[in-house]
């Protein structure tokens, strides 16, 4: 079936540096999401995005986080500066519609901040 691609699959970065996580959503999907998962635990909602705007963000979406999707390119999550507690697996998802649609998830980017 259609897939969400995430690049890179793994990233190691020094604390304080900037990192950009890239997501290529399903081609006709309009809604995009980022989730955070620590050590195989619960998936935590970070943010959703539609029509060039953040619709909702959780308290985990710190001021150091930002998202964007310039026309025709990846949906990105940028963390600047990174902190040790940002180490986690970040999953991107997309859906065709908003509420009431099923979600397609990528395979995740494993981020390690050292």
């Amino acid at each position: 079936g259609p897939k969400v691609l995430q690049i890179p699959s793994h990233q190691i970065i020094d604390m304080g540096q900037m990192v950009t996580l890239n997501c290529d959503p399903v081609s006709n999907h309009l809604y995009f999401y980022w989730y955070k998962q620590i050590l195989g635990q619960q998936m935590e909602f970070l943010v959703n995005f539609y029509n060039g705007k953040v619709m909702e963000k959780s308290k985990l979406f710190k001021d150091q986080f930002s998202v964007e999707r310039p026309d025709g390119s990846y949906f990105t999550l940028k963390i600047q500066p990174t902190a040790l507690e940002d180490s986690a697996v970040y999953f991107c998802a997309s859906s065709l519609g908003g509420a009431g649609s099923d979600y397609t998830f990528g395979s995740g980017t494993r981020l390690l901040v050292i």
């Binding site: 809604y31 998936m43 509420a99 979600y103 395979s107």
Partner: protein, 111 residues
């Protein structure tokens, strides 16, 4: 408290046996989606339900259409490859476009 409560948190089965996982919601939900996360961490969508039941091979899921407060995932004739962590995730009503996940059920199938 958590909006999505999954049970059990862990489960060990012998090959060939049947089991059921459950998700309770503290509020009425519009839809539910079940996922399996494998050992590499990939999240595989199993079912999306806005109501009723769906079946795929040895897996069957149901969403309480009346009160919309729980969902179940049944595994029939468990196989080794069914091992993994199963997550349910639900979407509340209104214009709220996000999934809220449960804490997962870690399933281990043994020969």
């Amino acid at each position: 408290g958590d909006q999505v409560e999954q049970s059990p948190s862990a489960l060990s089965l012998h090959e060939g046996t049947d089991s059921a996982l459950r998700c309770n919601f503290t509020t009425t939900m519009r839809s539910v989606q079940w996922f399996r996360q494998n050992s590499r961490g990939s999240l595989i969508s199993l079912f999306y339900l806005a109501s009723g039941t769906k079946e795929n091979g040895r897996l069957k899921s149901a969403f309480d259409s009346k009160e919309r407060r729980y969902s179940t995932l049944h595994i029939r004739d468990a196989q080794l490859e069914d091992s993994g962590t199963y997550f349910c995730a639900a979407e509340a009503g209104g214009s709220n476009a996000k999934l809220t996940f449960g804490k997962g059920t870690k399933l281990s199938v043994k020969s």
